[in-house]
Symmetry: C2
Subunit: 314 residues, 2 copies
């Protein structure tokens, strides 16, 4: 099978690529290398540098494929900087939604059967302490990031009526691991690398979220797609626990990287506009399929701190 990985050189892409390549699939990665790196992927995986938000990328990609068919698209390309998207709505429109739109146009044009999408818990919005299942509505995202993930889901759903045979929408929790390109762990490690004496935290540190290790995430997606029986599937992916606080994360990062650092907290329980302060994910549907993560939030974060510290050479 030939699989196109859009945004495949970033964080999750290389982890997924290794699993798919090991299963014997032919891969093609498309990435604009805004955060991704060629070096994140094995040399054996062909890579095209292309910005999928640009009009014209559909024709360019079709031409680059030279008539070679694509069976599956895994769409992982997106803006991952939520505050940047709150500041300028064009960022998420372009990097998250228009990439989806163009990949669907390509799918229609060249007859791609299956479309997998990296969606997000951010599509739900802020539900406080209520457990968030896939059956919950209305979906009221509080960031343009979440909005354009939801817009992408919607467009993919419509495409599954028109021309796709299968659409798999995975709503990611916070995912941790390497190669880290963004996120709270990388931020903390990099801040400490700059100033080993002090770690400044956005918000008061009480924000609590679940974290999944990227290896578990990839495993869950492959497990679920192999068992999907419906044309469309929407699936929350996450650990079973209610997560850990930002305060606990800050303490663990300091313990690993710079035990003498003092931690300075900000005000309020939101790190930024668009941040969901507390968040309880229902993953009953995924568990009913028979899948379990190997790590809970604590274990995933601890392992990732170590991996990221190694990546950043601190």
């Amino acid at each position: 099978m030939t699989i196109l990985l859009a945004g495949g050189a970033g964080f999750i892409g290389p982890n997924l690529a290794r699993r798919l390549a090991a299963a014997g699939h032919e891969l093609l990665v498309v990435d604009n290398f805004s955060r991704g790196l060629r070096a994140n992927l094995p040399d054996s995986v062909p890579c095209i540098e292309m910005d999928l938000s640009h009009t014209g990328c559909v024709a360019a990609l079709e031409s680059a494929l030279k008539g070679r068919g694509v069976d599956e698209i895994w769409h992982l390309a997106a803006n991952s900087d939520i505050p940047a998207g709150v500041e300028d709505a064009n960022v998420d429109l372009r990097d998250t939604f228009m990439t989806t739109f163009h990949l669907l146009q390509l799918s229609k044009r060249i007859g791609v059967c299956r479309f997998m999408f990296a969606s997000s818990s951010a599509v739900y919005g802020d539900w406080g302490s209520q457990r968030i299942a896939e059956t919950l509505g209305p979906l009221m995202p509080i960031s343009n990031y979440g909005a354009m993930k939801l817009a992408s889901e919607a467009q993919i759903s419509a495409a599954a009526e028109g021309f796709l045979e299968r659409a798999s929408i995975f709503r990611f929790p916070n995912v941790v691991g390497t190669p880290a390109t963004h996120g709270v762990l990388l931020d903390f490690v990099r801040k400490l690398k700059q100033d080993m004496s002090r770690l400044e935290v956005l918000g008061d540190g009480t924000q609590q979220k679940a974290y999944l290790h990227v290896s578990d995430l990839v495993d869950a997606m492959l497990f679920a797609t192999a068992r999907q029986t419906t044309v469309r599937d929407v699936l929350n992916i996450g650990p079973v626990d209610d997560g850990v606080t930002v305060r606990w994360i800050a303490e663990q990062v300091c313990a690993r990287v710079s035990p003498q650092a003092t931690i300075a907290y900000g005000q309020g329980n939101k790190g930024w506009v668009g941040d969901v302060p507390r968040f309880r994910y229902a993953v009953d549907k995924l568990h009913a399929l028979g899948w379990q993560p190997t790590m809970d939030s604590r274990a995933a974060v601890l392992r990732s701190i170590d991996e990221i510290a190694t990546q950043e050479q601190v």
Copy 2:
């Protein structure tokens, strides 16, 4: 209060404009007149011809306002031709979603407090005979029309976190009345006007949907916005009944316009790709507010057939 009505010269806009003007508000209509007509609005309502899907419309509109503030935006501009949007996804992207995106950019720029949006039952997708309430998920639209309505909702929801004070999202059922610009009633009347002997129906006529008269729709929106207490509100608007079949509608149109016509049905229970064949709307939330429609689906359709026949001079 100064109210901007985007897409205000079409079908619902003029009905809403009359009510808002009667309540003493200053109105400004923006329309690209693709389906709308200047003549649909009273001369006293100022009208700007502008395509809100174009980049640059935000600056142009800001300049046209000459520093005049806008308190509320009612966003009714959209593609209303579902099959056209299935054929070419750019149609709904441009006319439904980009218009929303630009109006939100304008809102941020000039400080609009309140944003009302004409969404659609199409955001839900095809739920068969299950009753569709606002709390239902996941939202899986089956047309690009529904997808771009949902994308618009999502972007508005995010804006309500960032800069809007109030966002009201109204999920319309099938709405009937005049000035009719599209829809099954107008199609049937126009087909008969061309050939009084025969009415061709897309699909087998068993599709069943609820219809609301435009006067009731406008009334429900004004009723609900006056009572909204939350930053975001999502509301199904519709009659209480489960609707009428396309077959019954065809018979009623013929009875009014051309009783001798024979009705020719197509195959299948979908009029087109993206058509939801059956559809049960839950409007408990609206009724709990204390609102009731004056007409059920049958009464709304019968009155509208008469109004549209008059409009089309048959």
